[in-house]
């Protein structure tokens, strides 16, 4: 049996609402994001510039003090090595230092730490439409990167894992889709 005028209207209304209602409001959000972002960035850059110009002498003073402190720390750290080592040159096998969680002791990580494993996980999130710096339309893609380094101490069999998350945003021109 064919639906009546009212039934047809109800069917179409509920179908179209089910399809489109969930997308309402997204254009405003995308527009606001696109319009306010460059403005925020511009305001931030300007405020940093003004701040740097105003505090330049103080920044220079603190920067030179910081550099001097870093130099002293480095000297204090390497000087015992120079005095203790017969050839006064750090071992070439020494690549990094790491402290196992909870142990409180400092260990020198050398290539002996076999099973060195590095994983990079990339996650892409489509954040809607955006404009490239050239003003072309594209998709705003947020790239989340998780770089994980795992290694095991062959003597103590302790496992170490360090994860460094980072986030980047890019706009892919629509022609490249």
């Amino acid at each position: 049996m064919e639906p009546s005028e009212t039934e047809l209207e109800q069917l179409l209304r509920s179908h179209l609402s089910g399809e489109l209602d969930m997308h309402r409001g997204q254009a405003v959000r995308a527009f606001k994001r696109e319009v306010t972002r460059p403005m925020e960035r511009r305001l931030l850059i300007n405020s940093i510039r003004r701040s740097v110009a105003h505090h330049r002498p103080t920044i220079q003073r603190w920067a030179s003090m910081g550099l001097a402190m870093a130099a002293c720390t480095a000297l204090g750290f390497y000087l015992p090595h120079f005095l203790a080592s017969p050839n006064a040159v750090p071992s070439s096998s020494e690549v990094a230092k790491a402290t196992p969680a909870g142990s409180g002791e400092t260990k020198v990580v050398t290539p002996e730490y076999a099973g060195f494993e590095r994983t990079t996980v990339l996650r892409h999130v489509d954040e809607g439409s955006g404009l490239t710096p050239e003003g072309d339309f594209g998709r705003r893609i947020k790239q989340q990167k998780f770089e994980t380094v795992r290694f095991t101490d062959p003597k103590t069999h302790e496992q170490y894992e360090v994860t460094i998350p980072s986030e980047d945003e890019m706009i892919l021109p629509l022609g490249h889709q």
């Binding site: 064919e2 639906p3 047809l8 179409l12 997308h23 309402r24 254009a27 527009f31 809607g128 339309f137």
Partner: protein, 179 residues
Amino acid sequence: MDLSVEELVERAKLHDSEAFAALIERFEGIALSIAYAQSHNAADARDLVQECFMRAWQRLDTLDDPSRFGHWLGRMVRNLAIDWRRRKRPGPLDMSIDVPGGPQAAPPIERAEQKGKIDQALAALDEQSRACVTLRYYEGLSSKQIGELLDLTPAAVDMRLSRARTMLREKLAGLATEK
């Protein structure tokens, strides 16, 4: 403060982004309806609408008569949809497919069948008629308003709606009693 479309357009032309955001809120449903009629996919319609409003914001200077904003926007959506169809490459996966166990719960079988039937029935209409149907049944616009958006006379809109209704009733026979 409830400003008219003309006032909002004039303000938006002076780079008032809040005024343009208000215009988007007013015209989003209309733009979605037209884009959906053209693309026949809600997710694509959403993307088209976002892109269309960005483009409209950039090209607002070219709109001479602020009272014709809706008509201007409607034409822009249709042109964008045509471009989009040209540049769209067939992909291996249509993201709008309901995947069982996906983030959205799959609809009950009867509802999915009903949705499929209505989709098919709407797909059988020509684009102009589909746009008339979505604007009438989703946005509740009059024939005159639809005609202004789609470059049609009110009589032509009525004729298309009448034909579309006849066709849809035939295609959807049995659905209303199944409910």
